[in-house]
Symmetry: C2
Subunit: 341 residues, 2 copies
């Protein structure tokens, strides 16, 4: 008996992960899911080496991130994940052949991440890449929309409050640490926290499902708090007034960059946060706080929606009561990201 090829080993490992009956052990060309309970939410995000992740990011964490960024899109729709399909380009280093250690690390990381979030692997495709091609990974996530319907970006009403979960800017700071731009003298625990935020983002699945019936608009923060807030304002036809000084920062972030207006602008435009940004009527604030608290999460009101006039900008950012001049770049436009999705 000959040893299995690296590719056969990789596929065998993926088959071992794909235990859900709909996956048919990845032996078929298609997965078949029983009829969902309601509407189906679909999202597909790619990660490309050197664009969305660093060549020396561990394979396990790249697998986690590939799953997490897609689950975050489902979270913003209040959807319960039904499964994922993975498109995987096998590594192929010039002169060295396939990079089986990385591939197997990816498979192990994917298995762990799927188990952590209790999401089945349903299918996908594994392909050989030409020599020296950057790793190119795609994942499609399928979710069941909440019975009350999925929140959209366009539902914010004048008078609604703007809320955000968790803390902002940590992943962007983690990337800056990894690329050696700053933080040489940061305490190790703070470094670790910021790098973990970059490599192992936590999609807010439980929070999204809990609050979906109560919010008027919701998005996940993938490209940057300011640009994602602007998109909600634009889609909803209102003006969003955002109080930069109450935007939540972690202690690790403050240890790295301080707590100034400029450190807050950096956090609000960094992207890769995968927190939830949403609007709801002011009278729902207590309900929302208690729903999020029940799930062990944190939430803060950081702004409000106002009636748009022909003259009013979509986004007004204030710091301690004074309008801040907005940076030219509010976040990452789709596809132009140097790193974030």
């Amino acid at each position: 008996m000959t040893a299995m090829s690296d590719e056969a080993s990789f596929i065998a490992r993926m088959r071992a992960i794909a235990t859900h009956s709909a996956a048919r052990g990845l032996m078929d060309d298609a997965a078949i899911l029983p009829r969902p309970e309601g509407a189906v939410v679909l999202t597909h995000d790619m990660l490309v080496e050197g664009v969305h992740f660093l060549p020396d990011d561990p394979a396990e964490s790249v697998a986690w991130k590939l799953l997490a960024v897609n689950l975050s899109d489902l979270a913003a729709k209040g959807a319960k994940p039904l499964g994922v399909l993975v498109g995987y380009g096998l590594g192929n280093m010039e002169g060295l052949g396939s990079d089986s250690a990385w591939d197997m690390g990816f498979a192990a990381g994917l298995g762990n991440a799927l188990a952590h979030f209790d999401v089945p692997l349903l299918g996908g495709d594994t392909v050989q890449m030409p020599a020296n091609a950057p790793r190119t990974l795609g994942l499609t996530a399928i979710g069941a929309a909440p019975a009350t319907g999925s929140p959209e970006r366009n539902g914010a009403q004048a008078g609604d409050m703007l809320f955000v979960t968790g803390t902002i800017g940590d992943a962007g700071a983690g990337l800056a640490l990894l690329t050696g731009q700053e933080g040489a003298d940061l305490p190790p625990a703070a470094k670790e926290a910021l790098i973990a935020a970059y490599r192992l983002p936590q999609p807010q699945m439980a929070l999204g499902q809990a609050i979906a019936p109560t919010v008027t608009a919701m998005a996940d923060i993938s490209d940057g708090l300011l640009i994602d807030a602007q998109r909600i304002a634009q889609a909803s036809g209102c003006t969003i007034r955002l109080n930069l000084d109450v935007m939540p920062l972690s202690s690790a972030y403050i240890a790295l960059r301080g707590n100034s207006s400029s450190s807050r602008i950096a956090a609000a435009t960094a992207g890769d946060d995968y927190q939830l940004l949403f609007t709801a009527p002011a009278e729902k604030a207590e309900t929302i706080a208690s729903l999020i608290n029940e799930q062990g999460g944190t939430v803060r009101a950081i702004g409000q929606c106002a009636t748009a006039t022909p003259q009013s900008p979509q986004l007004v950012v204030e710091y301690k009561g004074t309008p801040v001049t907005l940076p030219a770049r509010l976040g990452f436009e789709h596809g132009t990201a140097a790193t974030p999705k």
Copy 2:
């Protein structure tokens, strides 16, 4: 007003294609499909430049093929397409920046192909690729399973007949023509027909939906007739006896390679055919012929299923009544394909 970037132009073009309400104009991070009528069929296939398509294949035809190979997986499940998500890596040539002509050609070809098959674009992701990275494209297709259930690979029964639609080997011959291996003196019409089979495969959507309730097992021929037949035999626990001499060949194929046992073996192992291979009880042969005829397709019985014994091989191939020694390679294993999916 500044001119749009190539990427913005590409995304604008994709948005113009995404007219289905579930796509939300590609302005959101996720698509939301109303609750499907039945089970949901999901498939994801990738195409990589230099692996699954040639660098000088026209962008329009690569878009067609990306859609067609995924729709073919739905066809084998008798599924009606509900929509697709596309993962697109924008071209990026060293020193030249983005290859917008190719990208826009792809968008135009995708629009045409989606319109041709009446399938909505629901979402996806567009990413920048590092300089000189091979184009890497992924597509997820979602379909509605037939009310009678989707055929699987494992339902063939001893006594069933084995059928195939269309003609076999044309795409593989087309690839050989494009890579200059043969065919210098072939008449232009035959050349065109074979190259079209390679670049513009026709997924058998209507046939698959029509016959799904009648077949016992079904697959599309992506990797090669022999290997796909062997997989049906293996999954079903039977032996398949295949009559190579009745396997349908096109006149263009015969003009190129003649009609010998070896030319037939080449066709049966080439892959990329995207025809349907299926089994059904002999008494259903008339029904099947008439269902396929109604859809304007062709079908031929090319073998039969027999009870497997511990000694019997999964696949026996005969040519004019005499067993043929099987080649070492029956087709393309997943992911190891030099070209076919």
